[in-house]
């Protein structure tokens, strides 16, 4: 039986035979994943260009890239410094990029410093992520007006200007691939997300300067990105230090990328350039201090829902929801209605947080009434039940939840504490009786 929107009404995918269980790890090649090989609808995939060709460009080459994307009708979104943080804004020149800026990150701590370093990408990640380009923090869903007992609904016309993301990190690209499964990989895709994502152009910037809170190496999402069209970028940049101006190794990840790279005016990359890239990435990986054992965390958390560490972390967590706002994969949302004085009703969709008391509200009250329950929900969802729901981990190791937590709760430390006493149960002191 087909539903009203034409998708088949699903009959009983029951627990125990979950069709979504993709197993452990990031099941990147699962066929319902949404990737660049499926999104070039306007460009037929004809292998005319050599995707393995790589180039080296200077900063002027990046400006030519911005110009080429603008000429193709893209809105170019890149990193800029605003209000003491690296954030994403529309950029038209490399002059707007964070030249010489460096970030200092620790649990509950983020500071920017500036020096005369000519590098444009010598920082890690800021509080914002590409999530908001495809899933805005707040958007109008529809507007309804009524006259003569007839209600008329209008939907906002989508802005069809495609987005070119300039410089998202490999971990942020991994975050988008997670969101792709949520909003574009299910039976009912979000048309706004799907269309904007499908038309987007991604210039990923490999990371040579991870922050103190990063753990992408544990999650397999950085600091570099692999070759190949399945990875999901159009072009991949690596900022190579040199005696004066930095150079950029440019690798091609799609036909569209191959077309654009022609206009960047680079010279073919030499083995020395790849050696320089290896050095950048090796150094970055070496600097990453935090670790999360991703190999067994899914089962570890599922087995430790009563672990005493939840009491410990609940005593520190403020349930403010900052971690969910900065997370590049947190997708919870909701709608709310507002009525104008003239009687026009507008329904907006906005991000929600599982740390909000109302998030789990049913008629008898909230299902998760305490911070204990809500922190456990967030962490077990992110690292464990996300696999069940979407066939991948919900964590990409960007470290934002650690940096932007006002009390510095560290997801890697919480997991390590549970792992260190796997199977522990709280000790309750009661006056007699056997709890078992």
């Amino acid at each position: 039986m087909a539903g009203r929107f034409g998708w088949p009404a699903r009959l009983a995918p029951r627990p125990g035979e979950s069709p979504r269980d993709g197993g452990d790890g990031g099941d990147a090649n699962e066929n319902r994943a949404f990737g660049p090989n499926q999104r070039s609808t306007e460009l037929p995939i004809v292998k005319l260009m050599d995707l393995s060709a790589s180039f080296v460009v200077d900063r002027a080459g990046l400006d030519r890239l911005l110009g080429a994307m603008t000429a193709r009708g893209y809105r170019t979104i890149g990193p800029v410094v605003r209000d003491g943080a690296v954030v994403q804004r529309q950029v038209s020149s490399t002059d707007e990029l964070p030249q010489g800026w460096h970030d200092e990150q620790a649990p509950g701590h983020y500071r920017l410093h500036h020096d005369d370093d000519p590098s444009l990408f010598a920082w890690a990640v800021g509080p914002g992520s590409p999530k908001s380009e495809f899933y805005p923090a707040r958007s109008l869903v529809w507007r309804a007006s009524s006259a003569d007992e007839v209600v008329t609904l209008e939907q906002p016309q989508e802005d069809s200007t495609p987005v070119a993301l300039i410089g998202p990190r490999p971990c942020e690209l991994a975050g988008l691939r997670v969101l792709d499964r949520v909003f574009a990989g299910g039976e009912v895709p979000d048309p706004h997300y799907r269309d904007r994502r499908a038309s987007s152009f991604v210039v990923v910037a490999e990371c040579g300067t991870p922050a103190g809170t990063c753990f992408c190496t544990s999650m397999g999402t950085g600091p570099g990105v692999a070759d190949g069209v399945e990875v999901g970028y159009d072009l991949a940049l690596t900022e190579l230090k040199s005696s004066n101006e930095p150079q950029y190794l440019v690798r091609v990840g799609s036909e569209r990328g191959a077309e654009v790279v022609e206009e960047m005016g680079g010279s073919p990359a030499a083995p020395a350039d790849f050696a320089a890239r290896d050095a950048v990435l090796d150094e970055a990986a070496r600097r990453i201090e935090r670790k999360l054992d991703a190999s067994n965390v899914r089962q570890l958390l599922a087995d430790n829902l009563g672990h005493p560490r939840w009491d410990d972390v609940a005593s520190r967590c403020l349930a403010c929801g900052n971690c969910t706002l900065v997370c590049p994969t947190c997708f919870c949302g909701g709608v709310s209605d507002a009525t104008t004085v003239g009687g026009v009703v507008e329904r907006h969709r906005q991000w929600n947080s599982c740390f909000d008391l109302a998030h789990s509200l049913v008629h008898t009250g909230p299902v998760r009434a305490t911070t204990w329950s809500r922190y456990r929900q967030w962490l077990t969802h992110k690292l464990s039940t996300w696999h069940d729901q979407f066939g991948t981990s919900g964590c990409v190791g960007c470290g934002r939840c650690i940096t932007w937590c006002p009390v510095g709760i560290d997801i890697t430390a919480e997991v390590a504490a549970i792992a260190a006493s796997d199977g522990a149960v709280p000790v309750y002191i009661e006056s007699g009786g056997d709890r078992s």
């Binding site: 009404a9 939907q155 209605d337 599982c354 009434a369 329950s373």
Partner: protein, 288 residues
């Protein structure tokens, strides 16, 4: 984003799954003090959505909000589609007090269903607690009316008080048409001459063959857990028991994250589930 500068287009064709279709309230029936059944017809267009018993819709009261409500009529039944709403909050209050002739929004149907076409030769034991009868009502009517069914239908209903017994006319009708119907209340009043006690006390009073029985259960989670225990004690296989779960549902299509229960998104994977040890563990897991 500047709202005034935004171009708006009329919804045709319907693009966004979050946008409802307008339906008119053509009848409003008060079931109990705080439970109302709304009969809805599309404001335009030929026919309403098709659905299976156990599925739900997202109903919008314009200007108040949207809430998940079970479809309480039977599929294929003549007349408008019915939804039964209990007045427990701002949105449900607005729906419960919606006047005949007013317009509401409908999205759906969503979720899994009771699978009522899958067991024509089996006895069906239906156990409902309180408003939990609403998502079962369409299934019961469908099973009672379905030609060619050889199994019997048992309807066991528990209500807190006699005043809170929903669908009394349907209970009589189902009994007249061959179902075994039993009702119990937790707290009787002076006019109550029926059974007293929780709904599980009705289980041993019916004569059914557990080996060829399917059970459909909906009510508070603790009631469902104990009902399952009672059914299993009588010999019903765990895999032959289905329950309908409730969580906060805001989208119906797996985008909003509100209805999570461990690995499950209730709107997408449920609300109707085959009972299992794994499901029992999920709904028994302690929250604080």
């Amino acid at each position: 984003m500047c709202m005034d500068a935004m171009l708006l287009t009329e919804v045709e064709p319907l693009l966004n799954p979050l946008t409802p279709v307008t339906y008119r309230v053509v009848a409003r029936h008060v079931e109990t003090g705080d439970v109302v059944t709304l009969s809805l017809e599309p404001t335009s267009g030929p026919s309403p959505f098709s659905f299976k018993p156990g599925q739900f819709n997202m109903l919008t009261s314009f200007g108040v909000g949207e809430v998940a409500i079970s479809i309480s009529s039977a599929p294929g039944a003549p007349g408008p589609v019915e939804h039964t709403v209990r007045d427990v909050g701002a949105i449900t209050h607005s729906l419960c007090t919606a006047a005949v002739g007013s317009v509401v929004g409908v999205r759906g149907p969503f979720g899994t269903d009771w699978g009522v076409d899958g067991f024509d030769d089996k006895d069906v034991v239906i156990v409902a607690g309180g408003i939990g009868l609403a998502p079962l009502r369409g299934a019961i009517s469908y099973l009672v009316d379905k030609p060619g069914r050889t199994g019997r239908v048992y309807v066991l209903v528990g209500a807190r008080e006699p005043d809170q017994i929903t669908f009394p006319d349907d209970l009589k009708r189902w009994e007249r048409d061959g179902a075994v119907v039993k009702v119990t209340v937790d707290v009787p009043d002076s006019r109550w001459w029926g059974a007293i006690g929780v709904v599980t006390t009705l289980l041993p009073t019916i004569d059914f063959d557990p080996a060829r029985t399917v059970a459909l259960v909906c009510g508070p989670e603790i009631m469902m857990r104990f009902t399952v225990r009672g059914l299993v004690d009588l010999g019903v296989a765990l895999a032959s028991i289905r329950v309908s779960l409730e969580r906060n549902m805001q989208c119906g299509i797996g985008w909003c994250g509100h209805c999570q229960l461990g690995p499950l998104l209730i709107c997408r994977d449920g609300p109707v589930f085959d009972y299992s040890a794994a499901l029992e563990k999920l709904i028994s897991e302690r929250e604080r």
